[in-house]
């Protein structure tokens, strides 16, 4: 091998250049949930709906959302999500939808559905990559004279929006009325995002349908309309092969296509609003010192507006009082008056160590907005037919300095009453993080681990070892946190923090105890019913025998049966 075959620092330098975030994600789309066409469709809908819900919640608007999926070719779909949210100011529109890592949520410690500001722009970028079409945004803010129609693409090199079309239009979001005959309901504010993309549609546990249904469960204040307009039977059939249940095909959106002319007639499926109470608005909090890592600490020291280290500790973090700040400085061997930006690397390490050695109050927990026990039951009742519902909202707890809160709900159907909940099948698990349904990677999720770790046998449910309990039930699990610890950026599974698993276990056990009370009552009732039937089966024979021996008449025979029935009911059936 000759020397010339090796690269030199110079030739290497010629190939070294900056990688834009957009380019990185283009090559690593699986990190964002666009690994395959089917999942891409779900992720696009999910990101748009999450944004709509976050915006409405923050603006105090009872959300109403349209989700329309229109198939235009075998593998090509137009996804369009409309909301009645506050709308978006014209200048922000291109950045929000056509620039990665742009958003309002990343820099705040406040509970919200989206966290990083990647989602919706990644969906647009995926559409752009697979179809070449821009993302179309229509939006109107309250009291504005007109709305805006903007078509934008992302410059993947520079992670910058490129505006292709920018018009003022008289646009307003429109929704079908609960009774379709009443026509449309219009709002004076809202946003509609439309993305054309390569995708695939299939029903089942990982489908858009399932996602929206679960959304409706944990957001009982949401009015959601949904329809899918299929282009041709080919694609439609493909979708139906997988997991199609009779119930699915009855619904409007999944009805077979009736030709292009009639596509617009495809009726909407509505998940109606069940509660007009807005969720409690979560407060924004400053980071808790125990949840901050060294790198972030250094960055915070650089960025702070405080004049001294002590002041920075006190003002930029939660739960650091004057006394505690002084204690930390002393422990770190730092002059409290030192300028934060002046703190050298070695000193910051000492500071970091000192912080973690200092006892602190736990972070404030009013930054969380749980769904609520009542609302969980309302949501479950709305979408899952069952006989018994229960829910538990645990108090807030802390992992790694981040407050979190666990909620669990159980819906148990009478065996055979609900085709979706087979009595011989494992429980259906509905996982949620900050009110967002998690459909993928159930096996890797701490929630699944907590459920399988509970001994359900003691709550009268069969359970194969290390598995989900078996029975006609759905288990809803929710984690609310200012920073939900996902195992990856596609936000599909919760990391296995012992604090989280412990809280999950407590909540599941409490629900399990209530379920077992219900089950034993039902068992008792079934037993009484069985006994009653058994008794009623044989008493006529007893009477018949007596009648034949004693030559009684029919009336006497009947009297015997009636009397005995009453006597036995008294002894056996009144408990």
């Amino acid at each position: 091998m000759s020397k010339n075959d090796f690269a030199t620092a110079e030739t290497m330098a010629s190939r070294q250049r900056e990688i834009s975030v957009s380019e990185f994600f283009l090559k690593n789309r699986h990190l964002l949930g666009f690994d395959n066409p089917r999942k891409a469709l779900l992720t696009a809908v999910k990101e748009a709906v999450d944004n709509s819900l976050d915006a409405c919640d923050e603006a105090g608007i009872l959300p109403e959302i349209n989700v329309e999926i229109k198939q235009i070719a075998a593998k090509r779909f137009i996804v369009s999500v409309t909301d009645n949210g506050p709308g978006i100011v014209r200048n922000q529109i291109p950045k929000i939808f056509a620039k990665l890592l742009y958003g309002s949520k990343f820099h705040r410690l406040r509970m919200s559905r989206g966290q990083q500001g990647i989602g919706i722009s990644a969906a647009g970028m995926y559409g752009q990559l697979t179809t070449g079409k821009p993302t179309i945004i229509q939006s109107r803010v309250k009291h504005a004279k007109t709305g805006h129609h903007i078509e934008a693409q992302i410059d993947t090199r520079q992670n910058k929006p490129v505006i292709l079309k920018d018009q003022e239009v008289d646009w307003m979001p429109e929704f079908v009325a609960a009774d379709e005959k009443e026509g449309k309901i219009q709002y004076k504010h809202g946003t509609c995002v439309t993305i054309e993309m390569e995708a695939a549609y299939a029903r089942g546990k990982l489908s858009v349908d399932e996602y929206l249904k679960q959304c409706a469960i944990v957001n009982p204040h949401l009015e959601l309309h949904y329809r899918i307009i299929a282009a041709d039977t080919d694609a439609e059939d493909k979708g139906r092969e997988k997991n199609a249940t009779p119930e699915d095909t009855q619904g409007g959106p999944c009805a077979p296509s009736r030709g292009k002319g009639e596509a617009e007639d495809t009726p909407w499926t509505t998940f109606p609003r069940a509660s007009k109470t807005m969720p409690v608005q979560p407060f924004e909090i400053k980071p808790h010192p125990h949840g901050v890592e060294l790198g972030m600490l250094i960055q915070m020291l650089k960025d702070t507006t405080a004049k001294t280290v002590k002041a920075a500790l006190q003002h930029d973090f939660s739960r650091v009082s004057d006394r505690v700040a002084a204690e930390i400085c002393q422990r770190a061997g730092l002059n409290p008056k030192e300028k934060p930006a002046q703190i050298a690397h070695r000193e910051s390490e000492a500071l970091f160590k000192a912080i973690n050695e200092t006892k602190l109050m736990r972070p404030p927990t009013d930054c969380l907005s749980p769904i609520g026990e009542k609302e969980i039951i309302t949501g479950l009742q709305k979408e899952i037919k069952a006989d018994f519902y229960t829910s538990v909202t645990r108090g807030p707890e802390v992992y790694r300095g981040n407050p979190f809160q666990i909620e669990v709900g159980i819906a148990y159907a009478k065996p055979g009453d609900n085709a979706d909940l087979g009595s011989e099948e494992p429980a259906r698990v509905l996982r949620f993080a900050n009110k967002v349904p998690l459909l993928y990677m159930a096996g890797a999720c701490a929630m699944t681990k907590a459920i399988t770790g509970v001994n359900w046998k003691s709550y009268r449910l069969p359970q194969p070892s290390d598995s989900l309990p078996v029975g006609p039930l759905a288990i809803l699990v929710h984690i609310a946190s200012v920073w939900v610890p996902f195992t990856s950026e596609s936000k599909e599974a919760i990391a296995h923090y012992p604090e989280i698993i412990r809280e999950l276990t407590f909540a599941l056990q409490e629900c399990g105890r209530r379920l077992s009370v219900y089950l034993s009552r039902r068992h008792r009732e079934a037993e009484l019913e069985r006994k009653r039937n058994y008794i009623e089966l044989y008493l006529p024979h007893l009477a018949l025998g007596l009648k034949q021996i004693l030559e009684l008449d029919d009336r006497q025979e009947k009297t015997i049966v009636n009397k005995l029935q009453k006597m036995l009911e008294r002894t056996h059936l009144e408990q």
Binding site: K531, Y534, I535, L537, Y538, L539, H541, L542, A543, L544, G545, L546, Q548, I549, L550, L552, T559, I560, K563, L564, M567, L568, T571, H572
Partner: protein, 375 residues
């Protein structure tokens, strides 16, 4: 108060029918007048509710009574009892008909969900009704299906023609290579004999050997084969024959706990199951000839034995502890303990070790001459 033996035993069909109406009337009364859950009462039929009275010679039932009160658990049996009583009264007694146990079982198939699923269910219920009414099942018109045993020897049985009622004489000595079968009803039979005693044998193969060599001529005895635990008819037949002709009886069974405690004990004193009627179905005058554990030594049969199995040991220990008959007789306790310590059992046929006919040429004559029998 108490009826005499024969009165109870020979209760007429009309009386039996009346008894059923009485019992049903009480139940009806419970329901309608007393407004209470009806009950059926029957004596408990097991060894725990019998007493062995050596003077009377049979197990006598004590007064432990089981009450079956109508409840969720008993409602099916209760209903079945009523229907069975109705069938017994209306179809058997009032119509002067008879039925086998298996026929009862099949008859119930027309009762819908009240039917018996297996024959043992109807058999048990029949026993219950028999005990409750205090009337034995033959009198109710139920004929046993098991064979009653076989008889050969210098005996003439005087039977009646079932159609005409004419006398029929059966000479049990002139049956060639066969034997006379004991019928299920023996109450009407009369006997003529010149035999000196009766020899009752457990297995039919040994019975046939004795018949083949006309042992009954040589020994002047009547031979009866039981084929296992003697049926009621067989016990009643032996009892009537021996009471009537004042004959001593000897029993010859396998030398094992089953032969002692089940076959011989039942023959002599009756069974726990049928405690309420033992007084008629037992043969108190019977004595035990063999094979005793001592015979194994005396007749050099050690190498013709089998080790006791677990069930044998359990049966022997159980008898020593719970069987009122064994508990009364020291000789039997000694015999059982001897057997347990030897750890072996022996069959009747084991004498073939010394030659096929050793049993009738040597064993039986020597034992009978010696005259030392177990009680």
């Amino acid at each position: 108060m108490k009826k005499t033996k024969t009165e109870i035993y020979a209760v007429s069909k009309r009386e039996a029918s009346k008894k059923i109406v009485e019992s049903a009337g009480e139940i009806h009364n419970d329901i309608i007048k007393k407004n209470a859950r009806p009950r059926m009462r029957f004596p408990i039929r097991s060894l725990s509710n019998v007493k062995y009275d050596p003077r009377k010679g049979h197990f006598e039932i004590l007064n432990k009574v089981a009450t079956r009160t109508l409840s969720y658990n008993t409602v099916k049996t209760f209903a079945q009892s009523m229907r069975l009583l109705a069938t017994t009264k209306n179809d058997l007694l009032d119509k002067n008909d008879i039925a086998g146990k298996r026929e009862v079982y099949y008859n119930s198939k027309s009762w819908g969900e009240c039917r018996f699923n297996e024959q043992p269910e109807s058999d048990t219920l029949l026993d219950d009704i028999e005990a409750m009414l205090g009337i034995n099942r033959e009198q109710l018109g139920y004929i046993p299906e098991e064979r009653g045993g076989e008889v050969t020897g210098p005996l003439t049985v005087i039977d009646l023609d079932p159609a005409t009622g004419d006398e029929i004489k059966i000479n049990c000595e002139k049956l060639g290579t066969g034997a006379w079968s004991i019928p299920s009803q023996v109450e009407h039979l009369r006997f003529e004999t010149r035999a000196k005693f009766v020899l009752v044998i457990e297995t039919s193969s040994l019975f046939q050997r004795l018949v083949h060599h006309r042992y009954y001529e040589k020994a002047d005895c009547i031979l009866i084969s039981m084929s296992g635990v003697p049926t009621r008819a067989c016990r009643r037949f032996i009892r009537r024959l021996c009471d009537d002709r004042k004959l001593p009886v000897l029993a010859f069974t396998d030398g094992d706990p089953y032969g002692y405690c089940n076959i011989y004990r039942t023959l002599k004193a009756g069974s726990g199951q049928a405690a309420h009627i033992n007084q008629y179905f037992c043969v108190p005058q019977v004595h035990y000839l063999g094979v005793t554990p001592q015979d194994i030594i005396d007749f050099d049969l050690k190498d013709a034995t089998h080790p006791l199995e677990e069930i044998d040991i359990k049966r022997a220990k159980d008898a020593l502890k719970n069987d009122p008959f064994i508990k009364h007789h020291k000789e039997w306790q000694k015999a059982l303990e001897q057997m347990l310590s030897m750890g072996v059992r022996i069959e009747q046929q084991a004498f073939a070790k010394h030659g096929l006919n050793y049993v009738l040429d040597e064993y039986l004559p020597r034992k009978i001459k010696k005259g030392a029998f177990l009680p």
